[in-house]
């Protein structure tokens, strides 16, 4: 299905709205949805960021039917967050807000799909908080990303010798990162850094 707005891209965001008892469907591509969001048009159209972000259908209370049965939305089968009790319904009501840091794990499938549409990447390459210490994975990932860009640039400039050095470093970084993400089976030290100091 093509996007209602540009009629070029594949529509990946489907929104259903109920207006005076009539269901109005909109189908948008990520780019057009983003543009509408930036212009604040979703507010006036009655869209809500949650529906756009997470591809959730919307059911108007005026229909007077039980929400849970009528809604055919993905994410519906996800359980409530064990820490804060937030549910998919709450995510929708609050305009796409989550309840607590743990919600990122609870609603992971829904969130990772949304991130792919709205963010330029799926891995954090920015700064780390002082309190988190110097985890190895993040530092390595950061350099890896930087080296990849550098490599592209070197190839564009046809500086092949430099590019070869850069590529070696990239391969080395990948190996080190592998070790970080999947620490070697328990051998000597039991308190090995896991590289996944998730906040909880």
């Amino acid at each position: 299905m093509l996007c209602d707005v540009c009629k070029k891209n594949e529509a990946t965001i489907h929104i259903k709205e109920v207006h005076n008892g009539k269901v109005v469907a909109s189908n948008l591509c990520g780019e057009c949805a983003r543009e509408k969001e930036a212009k604040g048009e979703f507010g006036t159209l009655g869209f809500n960021l949650a529906e756009v972000l997470f591809n959730l259908g919307k059911l108007s209370a005026s229909m007077g039917q039980a929400d849970s049965q009528q809604e055919e939305t993905r994410g519906e089968e996800l359980p409530a967050c064990p820490v804060c009790g937030w549910t998919v319904g709450k995510v929708r009501e609050s305009g796409g807000r989550l309840g607590c840091p743990e919600c990122y794990r609870t609603f992971e499938p829904m969130i990772s799909e949304a991130l792919g549409r709205f963010q330029r990447g799926t891995i954090h390459l920015g700064k780390r908080p002082k309190s988190a210490g110097q985890g190895c994975a993040s530092t390595l990932r950061f350099e890896l990303e930087r080296r990849r860009r550098e490599l592209e640039e070197l190839i564009r400039r046809e500086e092949y010798e430099e590019a070869a050095v850069c590529r070696d470093r990239i391969n080395q970084l990948k190996k080190e990162l592998e070790k970080c993400d999947h620490p070697a089976p328990p051998a000597a030290e039991p308190e090995k850094e896991t590289g996944d100091g998730s906040a909880d």
């Binding site: 309840g99 607590c100 990122y104 963010q119 920015g126 002082k130 906040a199």
Partner: protein, 354 residues
């Protein structure tokens, strides 16, 4: 009047009153960081007690680290202010309307020169902001990075190795950073090139919006350009990408102005002259008229047409003509018609002194 608000009103708005690089076209540069504390619910899911605790923890961290000059900084409890006083905080770009509308459990810390602030319990527990005049995202980044480190060494931020800083809405996750530059683009508007330019910028995953009014309304020809994506790039990469585009927009704007002058200089002169005449001699000015006329006078100042008008005076009027500022300086609530009269009087007065 709240004594802190009174003190605030005596301040020159530093991001408008000081000089900055490229200030003829770029009015101000702003960065905000979204942060939350590990293991605590985000504000929309938090109980009153939980909100209160976070207010305490963040205020203590700010005082202990001396961030924002705390404890000798401004500390507002929005729910104790009148609606008009809250609106002042919004008009000075210190707080969002959503934040100010919340029912308790919030606190706003502001440095004495208003260049940095922390909204506690907005959409995220911390929204740290730094603001400077002109186009200087790098300097703003250095400032806010340091502020964030000072707070971060005393607070346990919610952080995930893969997703970065965890935020209430996934549109902010990762760096939690939104950087923006406010641009005055009358040349692109007058030459009819603003539409395609905005579309081009949107394609680069950056957002453009008018500062005043809603949606496509661009009163005062002021636009804010900001990053959309917060994940997958480092802060420096995001800032570099944004800065490149801002640099191009400034060049396009200069070019558009030169072309307008080359093609038909009397149209520009007329536009500037009428704008000045309106501000200098009108007895009733709507907000829209005032903003558009200020934009016109600003072009004149940039083109060197007025050697007696200080650009900072014009900049400050962009804030002073807003409804809450007018009403508080009048010392009472004003109807829309009364505001128009006060607004015109203020503009006549300020530009006379110039």
């Amino acid at each position: 009047m709240d004594p802190q608000i009174e003190r605030l009103l005596g301040n020159p708005v530093s991001f408008l009153a000081d000089s900055g690089p490229d200030e003829d076209i770029a009015i101000s540069s702003r960065i905000r960081l979204a942060r939350n504390l590990a293991g605590r619910p985000f504000p929309s899911a938090a109980s009153d007690e939980a909100l209160c605790e976070v207010c305490g923890l963040v205020s203590d961290a700010a005082s202990a680290s001396g961030a924002l000059g705390c404890p000798e900084c401004f500390a507002f409890e929005p729910e104790t202010l009148t609606p008009l006083e809250r609106e002042i905080l919004f008009e000075r770009r210190l707080a969002s309307r959503d934040f100010l509308a919340r029912n308790g459990g919030t606190r706003l810390l502001v440095s004495n020169d208003e260049s940095c602030s922390i909204m506690i319990n907005e959409e995220d527990q911390l929204r740290i902001q730094a603001l400077r005049p002109g186009f200087q995202l790098e300097a703003v980044w250095e400032e806010i990075d340091k502020l964030d480190d000072e707070l971060g060494s005393r607070l346990d931020y919610a952080f995930d190795e893969r997703l970065g800083f965890l935020t209430s809405c996934p549109t902010n996750v990762g760096t939690g950073m939104r950087a923006s530059v406010m641009l005055h683009l009358p040349g692109l508007v007058l030459s009819g090139r603003i539409g395609p330019t905005i579309q081009g910028v949107n394609k680069l995953n950056l957002a453009v919006r008018g500062i005043f009014g809603e949606g496509t309304d661009n009163r005062g020809n002021l636009f804010q350009v900001s990053n959309q994506s917060t994940l997958g790039e480092s802060e420096m990469q995001i800032l570099e990408r944004l800065s490149n585009v801002i640099g191009q927009l400034i060049a396009y704007e200069k070019n558009a102005r030169e072309q307008l002058i080359a093609q038909d200089q009397f149209s520009i002169l007329d536009h500037v002259g009428r704008s000045y005449g309106l501000l200098r001699h009108a007895y009733k000015l709507s907000s829209e008229e005032a903003l558009n006329s200020l934009s016109g006078v600003r072009i004149g100042v940039d083109l060197g047409m007025f050697n007696s008008i200080d650009i900072k005076k014009v900049n400050e009027l962009f804030i002073a003509i807003n409804p809450a500022h007018l009403q508080l300086s009048a010392g009472r609530e004003l109807s829309a018609a009364e505001r128009n009269v006060c607004r015109a009087a203020l503009c006549r007065e300020k530009l006379k002194q110039a």
